[in-house]
Amino acid sequence: MAATDRQCVFHAAELSKVYDMGEVQVHALRGVNLELYDKELVVLLGPSGSGKSTLLNILGGLDTASSGTVRYHERELTQATEKELTHYRRYHVGFVFQFYNLIPSLTARENVSIVTEIARDPMSAEQALALVDLQGRIDHFPAQLSGGEQQRVAIARAIAKRPQVLLCDEPTGALDSSTGVVVLEALQTVNQQLGTTTVVITHNAAIAEMADRVIILADGHIVEVKQNSHKKPPTEIVW
């Protein structure tokens, strides 16, 4: 299936980001052009400092671009106010972080509820946790869960509001290979069952094998976009 047949979710044009660090200026992004489509799973691959996290943050409404534009559907994100960005994050985007960022004082169920309570038409916390295969650990606190389990709670929390996009920043970065695979499976399940456009950033090339498309960044540029003709299931991925 060709990507162009699908609806475009994100459209970025000539996107640049310059961090002013006092005496030096760091160019994190240098004119990135990019389109992301409905239902696809994209891996942004690149070494550290390549600009992939900056790109993700701008797409997620956490950061703003120095120049260029990003459109989310018909909405211009680069012009959005703080309030609009909060609204955008609240109803359209799900985030998964490298270090899970669960609230230690809430159980798995409550960590999901904290998002479903402010969402429109969310699934139940139980449903979301079942989707990542955690129905058995629903009343456990983060401290009682393994790293992989914590990350799956984070995924459940991110997708419970049925977001259009799921943005994952090194979701397996803090996990060993076998646990990481379980987390990747969860991401794939969500992508397939809910059709959520999923962006995963990683410096681990092996993970790219499960993507629909792989976008490779280096030094603030997109250096290559690869269409995966043969997607590997996560269980076959090893690193």
């Binding site: 996290s53 609204h87 409550e110």
Partner: protein
């Protein structure tokens, strides 16, 4: 500078808000301590040098009349160093341009030389000359209050005769540092003054030629005062001696002593509170800092820094904050001590002040403060020093939360996750929550200690001058008079009602304890003077036996039913055994009470009165003073003053005014300082609590922001916890405040006055308000900071 030192200063700069808040609390404690101790030191040194240089006597006695040659006989007594005999006369005064009654105590000074004992410090002018019969020296307090200057004239009624006197000097005496009328509660410089005339003219005017009626004596070193008192009393009995007494019973000295006791208590109590709060804050901030720096500590150790070096690094941080606090406290303390000493000068009349800022006090205060600070942070610093590098490098696992009992009981199901986050966070670390609550409660409590005194003073005045003492004017007679004298008072136009009182100077003894005071005989149907019981209800006087204020009973160690010895200090100085019948409540002074008839019976005298209480008004009635104006009142005063038997007149309203002017002024100065420092504590605690909450929860809150929570929703979680802590702390603060106020009240019990514990709603409200405002300001600052949370950065890094 070494890298580690640079790190120290940078961190201090980073923590500047919190560090400043802690340092301010230390400033408060150190300042109060320095202020109280230095003022005390200043006053004690000044008093001692004043007593020494102006030769205050050791023993004092007044008598009816003794021939001058008795002086040699007294000088021969073993142990006597020096004797000064004097003529002392109570006079009433007429001041130009004032209708209000004023009275004075006129004391003789030698005709041509300086006195040997109780010398005068001449502030301006000169001593009175014995060759002139109209020269007067007045005390500077009286001169100041009445705007009298050299060459002004004063008319004194001496022995019923009007005498016009010219002021030639303005002076101070070590005998009257606290210049208060006998029987008065507070000084009233406008209406009572001490003054001096040369011996010869005064003796002539007072019919005391060749005689004296007052004596001051200096003992040889090592001589026993008590033995000398017995000898003097025996010797002077036939001359109408009223009982010798030493400095402990000397009025001015006793007031001064009581004041010093209070000051010393103040020097201990407030710094203890301040230092406890500062210790608590340091503990919290340093523990927190160290736990966020685990990895840095590990790295330092991995590079080979010793445990001691790491420990010292954090100890230095504590020392720096404490050091700034101590230095600030020194400066503020010195400034306050100067101000306070000068305030004391207003009613403790010293000719000079010898400011004392003893290095020992400063060193001791610093040593205590540093020790408290180090102790408070010892655990945290030691933990940092002994942290094994490998363990420090490891990631801290998420905190271990559990369902707590309220939840297991199902009580929290109704709450939103944000609500549950707040409660679980508080329940997760009960000790920490408790210590935050305690800190806030401390702030609230210390505010109450500052605030309650105003209400207490109002209550004292109300109970004393509206419930116990209802007269408008009190007239004291030169000699005891019969009750017939009341008729001539009652017949004065403008006098609505009169009743008589018998006051006898006595020495009360029980077992080995004794106390000099005045025994008041009050008619059983008295309307203008009431004796109050422990519940502040007027009580009827028993037919016989004594009533004593609780304070006096406890000084004597006597309880109702005990038999007391009453030594009368006038007339033929008989002793009587009288049972203690009941105890009374009295906020000002310590007089004993008895039924008037019983007292007259006991003294073997007929109906005898020493003063009269008068209610003014146009009609013969008890409650008729309305519609009676000041001009009519002053006519009554003038008529009273002209009566030869009248020694003194005191006007109730003037007493109330002077009470507020003097006592209340000094107490309220303290109150103001306390309130200010209480506010500092409140803000210090709240601000630190909030900053720590923010730094502990920043990551969590940033995650929520990323997940789509708005600024306000995130703030709710933090502010909700702050609000809950504050609300829990306030009732606890009320309890603590009530306890501290009670402690304060107990510390302030003196013979002069007992401050009642009166906690009015406004005290509670004000204290709560200060804490709430501090919470609100800190909350707003936090809200502002939450708006600037770096969402990207917080998510990238692990805590």
């Amino acid at each position: 500078m070494r890298a580690l030192d640079i790190k120290l200063w940078r961190e201090l700069w980073h923590l500047r808000g919190q560090a400043a808040a802690i340092a301010l609390v230390i400033v408060g404690g150190v300042a109060v301590c320095i202020m109280s101790l230095s003022t005390l030191d200043t006053l004690v040194q000044t008093r001692d040098s004043y007593y020494r240089d102006y030769r205050l006597g050791d023993l004092f006695v007044s008598l009816k009349r003794a021939p001058n040659h008795l002086q040699q006989q007294i000088e021969q007594l073993p142990g006597v160093a020096e004797v000064e005999t004097r003529v002392v006369a109570a006079v009433s005064l007429q001041l130009t341009g004032s209708d209000e009654p004023a009275t004075g105590l006129l004391t003789s000074i030698p005709d041509h030389s300086d006195a040997r004992l109780n010398r005068l410090y001449i502030r301006s002018g000169r001593l009175a000359d014995g060759r002139r019969d109209n020269e007067l020296v007045v005390s500077d307090a009286f001169a100041e209050a009445n705007k009298l200057q050299i060459n002004d004239t004063v008319v004194a009624v001496i022995n019923g005769k009007h005498k016009r006197l010219t002021i030639v000097g303005i002076a101070l005496s070590p005998e009257y540092i606290y210049e208060i009328a006998p029987g008065a509660i507070v000084p009233d410089y406008k209406r009572y003054g001490v003054m001096w005339m040369a011996r010869t003219p005064l003796s002539t005017a007072y019919d005391m030629e060749g005689a004296f009626n007052d004596l001051v004596l200096k003992l040889q070193p090592g001589a026993s005062g008590d033995d000398m008192i017995d000898r003097l009393d025996a010797l002077l009995k036939r001359y109408g001696g009223r009982g010798a007494y030493d400095r402990d019973d000397q009025l001015s000295n006793r007031f001064l002593h009581e004041e010093f006791v209070q000051l010393r208590n103040m020097a201990v109590m407030f710094p203890v509170i301040f230092l406890s709060v500062a210790a608590f804050l340091l503990n919290v901030v340093v523990s927190r800092l160290i736990s966020t720096e685990r990895q840095q500590i590990a790295v330092l150790k991995a590079f080979g820094y010793r445990n001691a070096a790491v420990g010292w690094h954090y100890a230095q941080l504590v020392l720096l904050i404490t050091g700034f606090g101590i230095l600030g406290g020194y400066a503020l303390g010195i400034w306050l001590a100067r101000g306070l000493s000068e305030l004391y000068m207003d009613y403790y009349r010293f000719p000079f002040l010898l400011y004392q800022f003893s290095p020992l006090v400063f060193i001791a205060v610093a040593a205590i403060t540093v020790s408290v600070a180090m102790l408070a942070t010892l655990r945290a610093v030691r933990a940092a020093a002994s942290l094994p590098p490998a363990q420090a490098m490891r990631e801290q696992s998420p905190e271990n939360f559990r369902l707590f009992w309220l939840e297991r009981a199902g009580l929290l199901r109704i709450l939103s996750p944000s609500g549950r986050m707040i409660l679980r966070h508080m329940a997760r670390r009960p000790l920490k929550t408790l210590s935050s609550i305690c800190g806030l409660a401390c702030a609230c409590g210390i505010m109450m200690v500052g605030n309650f005194q105003m209400d207490a003073i109002d209550t004292m005045v109300y109970m004393q001058f509206s419930v116990a003492q209802r007269d408008d004017v009190k007239v004291s007679f030169t000699e005891p008079v019969s009750s017939a004298a009341l008729y001539s008072l009652k017949s004065l136009p403008g006098v609505a009602y009169v009743e008589g009182v018998r006051e006898v100077p006595v020495q009360l003894r029980y077992q080995h304890r004794s106390y000099r005071t005045s025994l008041q005989g009050i008619a059983r149907d008295a309307q203008l003077q009431k004796v109050l019981d422990a519940d502040l209800q007027p009580v009827g006087l028993p037919e016989s036996g004594l009533l004593l204020p609780e304070r006096l009973a406890s000084i004597l160690g006597a309880k109702p039913g005990d038999m007391l010895t009453v030594e009368v200090l006038e007339g033929d100085r008989q002793s009587y055994q009288v049972p203690l019948k009941a105890m009374t409540k009295q906020f000002l002074g310590v007089s004993a009470y008895m039924d008037l008839q019983a007292l007259n019976r006991l003294m073997n005298e007929g109906e005898s009165l020493s003063s009269a209480l008068i209610k003014l008004g146009p009609f013969e009635s008890m409650d008729s003073s309305q519609g009676f104006d000041a001009q009519q009142a002053s006519t009554v005063y003038r008529r009273l003053r002209e009566m030869p038997a009248v020694a003194g007149i005191s006007v109730r309203q003037s007493l109330i005014d002077s009470f507020y002017e003097t006592l209340a002024k000094s107490m309220l100065t303290f109150t103001f300082i306390n309130t200010l420092l209480g506010g500092v504590i409140a803000f210090g605690v709240v601000y630190n609590t909030v900053r720590i909450m923010l730094s502990e929860r920043g990551r969590e809150l940033a995650s929520l922001r990323v997940l789509g929570y708005s600024h306000n929703e995130v703030a709710y979680i933090l502010l909700g916890e702050l609000a809950l802590l504050t609300l829990l702390a306030i009732p606890l603060g009320f309890l603590l405040g009530a306890y501290l106020s009670r402690l304060m009240v107990d510390q302030m019990q003196t013979d002069l006055y007992r401050v009642p514990l009166v906690l009015e709603p406004d005290t509670f409200a004000m204290s709560a308000l200060v804490v709430l405002v501090a919470a609100l300001i800190s909350g707003l600052m936090m809200w502002h900071r939450l708006g600037k949370l770096d969402l990207v950065e917080v998510l990238k890094t692990r805590e």
